[in-house]
Amino acid sequence: MKIVREALAGTLESSDLMVRITPRDGELAIVLQSEVMHQFGARIEAVARECLAKLGITEALVVIEDKGALDCVVAARVQTAVSRAVDEWTADWSALS
């Protein structure tokens, strides 16, 4: 799947996160800001990378501003951002679990 436009998902409310995804050639870059960076920064990035890998996203700039979200919220927001940034989105629920 290819990121063809900029897209946003999520909010900056507590227990949520904002994900901004934009097209980028040649690399998958993740920029993460979190209120719990020291404790959970690596975990949040791992969840985001796993979601992107399952969706076949290998090129994009993903900017995440986390406000203490659980793993399931991180996954949902990353997947929603991708679904809004690709040309044709058909949910493959087994790849989204």
Binding site: E13, S14, S15, C72, V73, A76, T80, S83, R84, W93
Partner: protein, 290 residues
């Protein structure tokens, strides 16, 4: 017997509420993808609820999702997500006829087969929100073996009836019709939301009414209402003591092979025994009324 006294509605797009709602321990957590979610956030809410349903935190609580009507561009997508995520109950809004339930059931079965989920394991609930739904309540309540209950939704109903929420008299016929249909079909019946979360006295007055009518429970929009509701539905100590005596007498009679049992000179038949067991189950779940 599953208790369904409290059905806590949560906006499907609200990450914080979805992440923490289980701590309030309602009988049923109802993730809402319909009216509580704006059109532009339907996709995000669906994804959030898909993941929230798979959190291993619910224990004995029942999970349910109010999907969008199948006539909208969102309904079927909601259904695909939540059945695959393992939801216990799908709530269909704006149910006007039995065919609405049958159409939902057919789609649920297709998805269950498609994803390998046991066919029949997804239960259904129909929300009645119109004069048409009330008139067809019996047909709706008996339309599917998957139905665990029917619920009256007050706001849309009073709009359809060209009136407004008041002292409850505007809901009298609908409450009785929905309740009778549910009892005829031997499924649960749920009352409307009480929207003024700061009016505990008004809430408890309404809860007392619907409990005495015979409703199983009520839709809630604030976690504060859960304990109030559970306490109001809890039996009194006197009811518990009597129910224990009834069950003990019934068990004794069964051991002795008696067809009919009496307690203090009064005959105890099957409905009395069953009611006593329900009372004890409620006491076990929420203690004795304070």
């Amino acid at each position: 017997m599953r208790l369904r006294r409290s059905m806590l509605f949560l906006p499907g797009a609200n990450a914080a509420m979805l992440s923490t709602a289980f701590v309030f321990k309602p009988d049923t957590i109802m993730f809402d993808l319909e009216d509580a979610v704006s059109l532009r956030e339907k996709d995000a809410a669906r994804m959030l609820v898909f993941h929230a349903l798979q959190m291993p935190v619910y224990g004995d609580m029942e999970t349910a999702v109010r999907i969008n009507p199948l006539s909208t561009p969102f309904g079927l997508k909601d259904l695909e997500a939540v059945v695959r995520a393992g939801v216990d109950v799908v709530r269909l809004p704006k149910t006007d006829t039995a065919d609405d339930v049958r159409a939902l059931e057919a789609e649920v079965e297709r998805i269950e087969r498609d994803c390998g989920r046991e066919v029949g394991s997804t239960k259904l609930m129909a929300a009645i929100e119109s004069a048409s739904g009330v008139v067809n309540a019996v047909a709706i309540a008996t339309s599917s073996k998957r139905l665990v209950g029917i619920a009256l939704a007050g706001f849309d109903y009073v709009m359809d009836m060209q009136t407004e929420r008041g002292d409850g008299s505007e809901l009298f016929y609908a409450r009785c019709a929905v309740l009778h249909a549910a009892r005829f079909a031997k499924i649960d019946a749920f009352d409307v939301v009480f929207s003024d979360v700061n009016d505990d006295a008004g809430f408890l007055k309404e809860v007392d009414l619907i409990r005495r009518l015979g409703f199983n429970g009520k839709s809630l929009i604030n976690p504060r209402q859960i304990d109030l509701l559970h306490n109001a539905f809890a039996p009194t100590q006197e009811e518990v003591d009597y129910s224990r005596r009834v069950v003990a007498a019934a068990e004794q009679g069964e051991k002795q092979g008696l067809g009919v049992v009496s307690l203090n000179g009064k005959m105890i038949d099957a409905p009395v025994i069953e009611h006593a067991r329900v009372v004890l189950r409620r006491a076990e779940a929420s203690g004795v009324r304070q």
